[in-house]
Symmetry: none
Subunit: 212 residues, 4 copies
């Protein structure tokens, strides 16, 4: 009971280490197995292939993150059910959501650093895009309200482009924090300034005080 599934756990640990050191592609299953003290055959008892082993390392955290993002950011709420004009409530909501997400990110810091920077060659290669699109949905709605649009159909391609960029930027904030701050506490502190920057950007975007 005690050492049950210990081999599998060991394998995942060693895989995590190897993947983080070498990246998905250059990681060697042989090395992982050697480090775990088992034969490659044993590994293939637990995992279908390299991909599945990688998934076992990074899949859980990604799911947790996806849920956190979805629950806060993606927009199933209909546009018409919202207040008629933009309110600072949106920003406050986002900020609190961001704190939750940050908490998830730091809970599995290693795994996220791995999956966001060293996953090329795996199915998570473009994982960031998935998260961007959740935020994009959400931001499109907010943008409409701020602009006073009754329906999304009034959005031009230019509108969509800048909203997409801002969504991308939001996600990038998280990655930047995870990459550059050792602790969640430190990250939370720096995030304040970054959000301030972002909100300033949003407001300028809505007002469209374009540089000539």
């Amino acid at each position: 009971m005690v050492d049950e599934k210990q081999t599998k756990k060991k394998l995942i640990e060693c895989a995590k280490a190897e993947f983080m050191e070498k990246g998905y592609m250059k990681a060697s299953l042989r090395n992982i197995c050697k480090a775990a003290g088992v034969t490659t055959g044993a590994m293939y008892f637990f995992f279908k292939d390299k991909e599945e082993l990688f998934e076992s390392v990074a899949g859980g955290p990604l799911l947790a993150l996806e849920n956190a993002i979805k629950s806060h950011f993606s927009m199933e709420d209909k546009l018409e059910s919202k207040v008629e004009s933009f309110s600072p409530r949106d920003i406050q909501d986002d900020y609190r959501a961001a704190q939750d997400i940050l908490s998830v990110l730091y809970r599995y810091k290693d795994e996220f650093l791995l999956v966001m920077g060293r996953a090329s060659g795996s199915k998570y290669e473009n994982i960031v895009d998935r998260f961007v699109s959740y935020v994009y949905e959400h931001y499109l709605d907010i943008y409409c309200r701020m602009k006073g649009y009754a329906t999304k159909s009034r959005l031009t391609n230019e509108d969509k482009f800048i909203v997409h960029w801002m969504s991308h930027d939001q996600i990038d904030i998280f990655i930047h924090l995870l990459t550059h701050c050792a602790s969640e506490k430190e990250a939370a502190k720096q995030m304040k300034n970054m959000f301030n920057y972002m909100v300033g950007g949003w407001i300028a975007t809505i007002r469209k005080d374009i540089i000539s």
Copy 2:
């Protein structure tokens, strides 16, 4: 004289194609040589190794970009030689600089897309950081002037962090444009909105209207 160095040129072309299709790591020298119609031995006459071949594809454009960025963004000018307070001139300067850089990026679009997205495993893996640090130097100075600091020594870590983020964001704007706009013209158009967003962010950052 006519077809001199033609082999080398062909090799670089084919390398570019293969690197773009598969990424640095998965690219196969065999494939490249086969496509170029020469043996691997011939390739090794011109290039020391895989890395050097990659450099021959991406090095030139990167140098051009580096020069463009350096000439506009990096700050050798001393702080004291500048006007005492922030002026919109900075932003105008930056915007014009950005237009130049955009022009370089689109001149070698393929190469930059390659080096910024598919270079993992090569020495250009973290090339973006280099460009960020050029901008960082420059932005640190601007930030000081805007804050009315006489010397950089007054900057806290928090200051540096947000400036570093804004530098990163500036570079990201370029990458985002290159990735999402087919033509330079289109990119130039979208860049206006992105700059507007960025300037809004800067102003909010200086004012520090922090969300509670």
Copy 3:
């Protein structure tokens, strides 16, 4: 009592399917066990190894066939106890024997197709030869009688060779039918013509109307 030995039965069924699809060699025990819903360990409780599992699929039918062939074709009857000259009775006997054999073949059609075409790598690889030799014994006797030889010692190597060929051909007729006719009924119909062909061949052989 009811589901007793059900696992073993299931295993044999699934093994049959896998062996037929992939052939003995390429068949995977893992696949078979997965299909049967048990672990490989369970399989090894019932069967010593891959070979024995294959035997469990094909052994029974092969035994039935062996008996059918032996009872009709092999010659324990001594030569002297036979009528002095060739009679059409032999052919009639053979034809009836063939009908019996056909019946056995179609009773286990799958298994015979498997063992006669996809058994390479197993101990049944050359099973056909065994059946040929039973027929050969029998045909050697008939040939002697038709030639009017009192004893087998008068047979030359040339005699033996052609008799061996005709034995081989007899077996081949069965395989050809099994392979090309969907039903036993259809096979029985076509077999008539094939026997006619064979008898024609026999007669020509005895007469030795050699082409010049």
Copy 4:
């Protein structure tokens, strides 16, 4: 010049030996390379994969055989351009054709034994069928003429079945000879009797003296 391509030759030799001993599937490229005294990489310089190596062993002989069979057996000659009734000329022609084919078979005896008995898993797995169909085309024509049919459309499925069998049998004669006779000379001798048998079969088939 002297030891040019010696490695490739050696590789083919060793491959031939290994394939003959173990069959296509069980043959190990590692063993072949070890026997040839080169690394597997060297082998892959000359041959794309296992299949191509096998082809290099057996492809030539098969082509020679195909040509021999085609030139003698396959029927592009139209039915109407032929004499109105069956003549022994057909048999004489076939016999001479068979002698040619036998000659090809014994020229590459090893290779044919390999490809006809141990090729399972390779693309030559069902090579025999291809040869059968060449002969089938030819025999269908002869059969029509012997039956006095003006056109093939009068042939029933039963006709086609027996002709297909006889085609198969013709090919089987060759294989049987190759398998059981050490020398071409010996094979040529035995073939006479086998042809005699076959012709007897043909005549009986045309006459349809069916056993009751």
